[in-house]
């Protein structure tokens, strides 16, 4: 029975998609769940799964063609099946295809320095919901298997126990196993290296874009780095009090405090809240804080717009929504555009301090480490205190050491006296 594959709707506001590349040629065998084609939305490149097994009978659109969602793009038939295409497609008009505009600039989301505010996720996922049986989910959680990387063999593509067990056994778990987000003591995962066997992974569009941007930034931008330690004792206490009695999903994170603190600090430093073009420096009239979100195969920056005008709860809620959309592959353009300053936070992984690569064309990026209880000397006495280190990477073409240092000093006002954030 021949089946029509349509252009999937992969995002909330996706209206059309560009078929970038066919991964299966006409006449090629295909299994349900196999990747059929690369498609590109205005956010990212994703892959279309085949919802049928058989052979690819016909490509209905050529590569590099943009068609509306739900347009038929291919027909899958059983081997040797005679299919009357006209009858099969019936009322379904062939897509009103328009050739994709050759694009100079890649419409890939801005990909900043290493950093993350969220757990891993897969971009190639069609949506956030993974159809898996409860026991499959339980085993996957226990053995740290990433369900998003598996193909379900159960009814309707459901991932069932045998699929997870097969993945664990075969070593495809090496790709499926997730890194643990728990700081300090990560859960022991299945072996990720298969002895004696190399795994070759083609460079995804997102991976490629990150690489290109970071290489350009690192080679072309004269970076300088300033590290400072902040006393976050009050901040940690305030956060604890604020979170008392709140649901898990509703809590304010350290990162939310940092976003708010940065936004307020930037008000006094227009030259840090800036970007550069060939001819000029642009000091922005809005403070939009980008937050790096880790994905399975890369990272994205989501943007909290006008963060200086939003309270902690609002910032927490927005970053939560944005991170979720990033993990679900449902980001909208406005979610990832327009940042004027970027934060990369690896504190939740127990990283004490690190330096990030500037997210061009921005003037600076702040790399935030973990808040830790450490011995401190106060008034000649040894005590315990909370400290958090942050490193500013700045573009020397825009700003200089002293200005950046004053900014870091000014930031202390908000991080160390967090009532100023309220």
């Amino acid at each position: 029975m021949a089946e029509i594959i349509e252009m999937p709707k992969l995002g909330f506001d996706m209206a059309e998609g560009t078929l970038v590349k066919w991964l299966k040629d006409e006449g090629e065998k295909i299994e349900k769940g196999d990747m059929l084609a690369d498609i590109e939305t205005d956010k990212a490149t994703l892959q279309v799964e085949s919802s049928a097994s058989g052979v690819v009978l016909k490509h209905l659109v050529e590569a590099n063609t943009t068609v509306p969602i739900a347009s038929p793009i291919a027909v899958i038939a059983t081997e040797g099946e005679q299919v009357d295409l006209e009858q099969l497609l019936g009322g379904k008009a062939l897509p009103a295809a328009k050739a994709a505009q050759p694009q100079e600039s890649q419409p890939i989301p801005s990909a900043p320095a290493p950093g993350s505010t969220a757990a891993s996720a897969s971009v190639s996922q069609e949506s956030g919901f993974i159809k898996a049986s409860p026991v499959a989910k339980a085993i996957a959680a226990d053995k740290a298997v990433n369900l998003a990387a598996l193909n379900g063999s159960g009814p309707g593509g459901r991932i069932v126990k045998r699929d997870v067990e097969a993945a664990l056994q075969s070593g495809s778990a090496s790709q499926a196993v997730q890194s643990s987000p728990a700081p300090g003591m990560p859960a022991p995962a299945q072996a990720q290296i298969i002895p004696g066997q190399d795994t070759r992974i083609s460079i995804s569009r997102l991976r490629g874009a990150i690489g290109k941007r970071m290489q350009e930034s690192n080679q072309n931008i004269p970076h300088f780095f300033l590290t400072r330690s902040y006393d976050v004792g009050s901040l940690m206490q305030m956060r604890k009090q604020m979170n008392e009695g709140r649901d898990k999903g509703n809590k304010v994170s350290v990162n939310d405090f940092v976003v708010r603190a940065i936004a307020l600090a930037l008000r006094q430093f227009p030259n840090i809240n800036a970007s550069i073009s060939e001819q000029e420096i642009i000091q922005h009239g809005n403070i939009n804080v980008g937050v790096a979100v880790a994905l399975d195969n890369g990272l994205l920056t989501v943007v909290v717009k006008n963060a200086d005008q939003k309270d902690l709860d609002q910032i927490g809620w927005e970053t939560g929504q944005l991170s979720q959309r990033a993990r679900d592959g449902k980001l909208r353009n406005e979610d990832i555009e327009g940042s004027t300053f970027t934060i990369s936070n690896l504190g939740m992984y127990g990283i004490e301090e690190f330096s990030a690569i500037v997210n061009p064309p921005e003037a600076a990026i702040l790399a935030v480490g973990s808040a830790q209880q450490v011995p401190v000397v106060e008034d000649g006495a040894l005590k315990t205190g909370w400290r958090m280190k942050a490193t500013l990477s700045a573009d020397h073409r825009i700003t200089d050491g002293a200005e950046a240092a004053r900014f870091m000093q000014h930031l202390a006002l908000y991080l160390e006296q967090p009532w100023r954030l309220v």
Partner: protein
């Protein structure tokens, strides 16, 4: 170990209990002179006499009502309903009196009553005489409901029921009186409220009871030929319902089918399924399947009747579905 029929197992249990305890007596329509509608009490009248083997009028409310009275007064009556379908005529006595007296009067009185009632379809007795309303009675706290699926359990459960101080509905299935099975020698009882694994397997848990036990055994034999290893859990008691062996089995198979003869809606399968989801949700690997009677009053026509009743093939189909 002797191999005997369900009928003989029930008959032996009654006989042995009447021999053991002079307080045990039987009453019901045709139990005496005729020897029981299904010949379970043949020879009882001659041996035990008319005091202890009492033929009654065709008046189910009177049978159950007077049996409750006798039980409250210290006797151990075994009241027989000619079929489960006649229990509706005695419904108030069963669920409002027998099931509640001990509870409502502060435990002053016990009702050590056993109601024997054959149910089920498949003998062309038409819609009003062919029902399997087991779940209906299992709904009421205070009333214990047992329904054996093997001769061994038929004998052991009836003996346990007669010795119990609680009112117990003992459900027989009229189409399997001839089913044979091994029965232990000598006196024994089967605990009420304990499920049992009747066949071990590793692929799928088939939960069932009563007539569907032999059906499930047949289905399991067929499925074994195709490499599907079925574990059969026989509930034996519907109230109290023992989910222990079911959950234990499900935790290693992750897949379950519930087979019952009654209707699917609000049935035993619905209850067992819900409990599995409640108690073992994280072990579910496929949607649980239920095998039950079609949702119609049972047809008289032989072919239609067989189509409406759950068959061995239906169980096989459901197991394959859940194994997908």
């Amino acid at each position: 170990m002797a191999i005997i029929t369900m009928r003989e197992a029930i008959s032996q249990a009654l006989w042995e209990e009447m021999e053991r305890d002079p307080k045990v007596f039987i009453m019901g329509e045709e139990v005496g002179v005729w020897g029981g509608t299904y010949a379970v009490t043949k020879g009882f009248l001659d041996h035990f006499g008319a005091e202890r083997v009492r033929d009654t009028p065709i008046a189910e409310a009177a049978i159950i009502g007077s049996a409750i009275g006798a039980a409250m007064a210290g006797m151990r009556p075994v009241a027989e309903l000619m079929t489960m379908n006649f229990a509706f005529s005695a419904m108030d006595h069963i669920v409002n009196q027998a099931a509640k007296i001990h509870y409502m009067f502060g435990g002053q009185m016990k009702v050590p009553l056993v109601i024997r009632a054959p149910g089920g379809g498949g003998r062309q007795l038409a819609a009003t005489h062919s029902q399997t309303p087991d779940a209906l009675f299992a709904h009421f706290p205070g009333l214990k409901v047992v329904a054996p699926g093997t001769p061994e359990d038929a004998k052991g459960l009836l003996k346990a029921a007669i010795r119990s101080d609680d009112p117990i509905l003992y459900i027989e299935n009229a189409t399997v009186y001839q089913q044979r099975g091994e029965v232990p020698d000598g006196d024994y009882t089967t605990p009420i409220g304990k499920s049992k694994v009747q066949r071990e397997g590793k692929d799928v848990t088939l939960v069932t009871y009563s007539k569907m036990v032999p059906y499930s055994m047949k289905a399991a034999d067929e499925l074994a030929k195709e490499g599907i290893d079925v574990e059969i859990v026989d509930l034996r008691s519907l109230r109290p319902l023992d989910m222990g062996p079911v959950i234990e089995s499900f935790k290693h198979t992750n897949r379950a089918v519930i087979a019952e003869e009654g209707w699917k809606s609000f049935g035993v399968g619905a209850e067992v399924t819900a409990r599995i989801y409640e108690e073992a949700f994280d072990y579910v690997d496929a949607p649980i399947q239920r095998v039950a009677q079609k949702e119609v009053p049972l047809p008289y026509n032989r072919h239609l009747e067989q189509l409406a009743l759950p068959q061995v093939e239906d169980i096989i189909k459901a197991v394959k579905e859940v194994m997908r």
